[in-house]
Amino acid sequence: MDPALLVQMLIGALLGISVYLPLATGQLTLATPAFYAVGGTLAALLSTRWPVLGARIDGSFPLPSFLLELALGGALAGLLALLVGRIVLRLQGIYLAIATIALVEIVRVAILNLPFTGGAVGIFGIPQPFPSAAGYLLPALALLLLAGWVCQRLEVMALGRAMAAVREDELAARCMGIDTTQVKLTAFVMSAVLAGGTGVLAAHFLNTWNARQGSFDSAVIMLAFVILGGSRSWLGPVLGGLVLTALPELLRPVGDARLVLFGLVILSGPALFPQGLVTPGLLERLGRLGDPAGRPGAEGSRP
């Protein structure tokens, strides 16, 4: 498979986890594209306008500067989430979703109109830390493994359990002494940091960055990653992000009908798998398969 497509798939998976994290506390936010755009714009600006980072005339870019950008992009997005989260996380359900859509629009219009972000054309000629697209596989995979590891750790940590408690019943969680605002805010900031870092990666990978990258349309696609993959485990949005990013490309041999088929997949996914492809039940069955006691013949093989 084309390494560039693999990188795009990994970026999809990272954005899927970013939408999943607030959902793990029961909060439907669509703010991920805003933080993705903040990270991407920061990387585009720093690497093209700030000579200290060492972009060379041949279009190459030192790796340490790229890693510094990753950290800065994540930090800036996280800071923005901290400021905005305090206000918008007072809202719930559809109202929260609408408030976060507004955030996406504000960031988009700001990037479009700021004097230094290149207007509608955007910023182009972003220097490359790697000689080919395959180079991006390593940082993208590392970022995904790190995010996955954090999500996996959360399952056994107090914070993760508190997140699950808030998702199941916020009032009951508060009665048990959980600072629900803090829990929700933490998940929101983690989601933003991840989206910001992904934006930095994407800006270099795409060679160019403009206001269209973080739009409401992309929010809908990222939400589809989670809905198709399943929102009860971090593996769900990863699978959703990988599959839904790859599918339009893998369907190219079909020709003009490929987007029709893609639409059918998005439609039939929730119809056939209402809880997504990856459900807690499926993970439990897989876990039992991996366990020697769960081999065929033992209790795991019951129909």
């Binding site: 084309d2 390494p3 182009f124 000689p131 080919s132 697209a133 795409l206």
Partner: protein, 410 residues
Amino acid sequence: MGGLAVLGQQADPAAKAVPAADAPNGALTIGGVIALTGNANLYGQDQRLGISLAREWAGSRRRQPGEPPLRPLHFQLQDGGSDEATAIAGFNLLIRQGVLALIGPTLSQQAFAADPIAQRRGVPVVAPSNTAKGIPQIGPFISRVSAQSSVIAPLSISEALRRDPRIRRVAVFYSQDDAFSTSETAIFQRTLRARGLTPVSVQRTQLADNDFQIPITAALQADPQLVVISIQAVGGGNLVRQLRELGYRGAIVVGNGMNTPNIYPICQRWCDGILIAQAYSPELDTPVNRTFRNLLRGSSPDRSPSQITAQAFTAYQVLFEAVQRLQRRGGLENVNLGQARKALMEELLAGQYDTPLGPIRFTPDGELVQGQFYVAQVRMDPGGRSGRFALVRETGVSGGAGGSASPPAR
């Protein structure tokens, strides 16, 4: 990491030998990455048509006596979508399949994403419709046959001011979230300022807008004598119609976004009289443009020739002619694909071409040098359903092959 680098190199067949012209597999492949889906697909459909007409034209070329055989060309089309990621995927796929050169992508924003990939792999790109500043500067393998708006846009303003030198009050409209419209309006406004005219009203709209009552009302309060519009076809057509319906009677100059017959059904009889500068005129009376129009009439009798179609035709034509010249000089013998790509790029930039756009050539860095540009006025049929871009002035630009401004010879 080393394994990944190998993975990247294996994906490029540049080291494979180019087959001989008379071998059974002697055909070389040109790739096209064009927006067939997404919001740029209207342009993509016109481009697909233009390339298919050019292939018909190329297929009918006969070998002259004494000439070596023509090098057959295949064409492989991929959907570039209207976003950056899909264009990148399309470029990567075709480069991996071993194309000799690429045509595309449709939007300038996509070009800034995908062209660096072709540049790094050393694959020649001819852009049929990228008008943003800085496209050929992406690298030596990137060229275009679409003139920058900075060359074309001022011509229509000059024509409007020539018709009515008393114009002092100008209103400007543009969609602020569209890359093409924002760069074009900057040129329009710079041209106006150079003529001593400061816009009395500048109205910003969005790409998706179709109702312009509020900005029009605001602009009409300043009582403009000329309205200059940089908005894409559908929105722009609606704006012109609503301007007239709300009582504006003055001159209208529109930008390249409305340079398509697709506006006729939208603004209907209200389109009549609007001025537009064009890089292509259907009324240009040269053999190759007659051939282009005849081919179009034969394949789609209901479509009028448009600039986007003519530019896509031109993109394929220049590649075809450059390949054949290279073939005649023996530049495709005993070379691998990577060397053939490099030789083709040099041949492409060195050539002169007689195209439906008029005579063209390239600067050494791949920028288009086009001799003639045109100012047209829309003339609608009495029924108001259909019309034409009537050529009112043909302009030679310095550095090009043409002469100075003159009325068209018709």
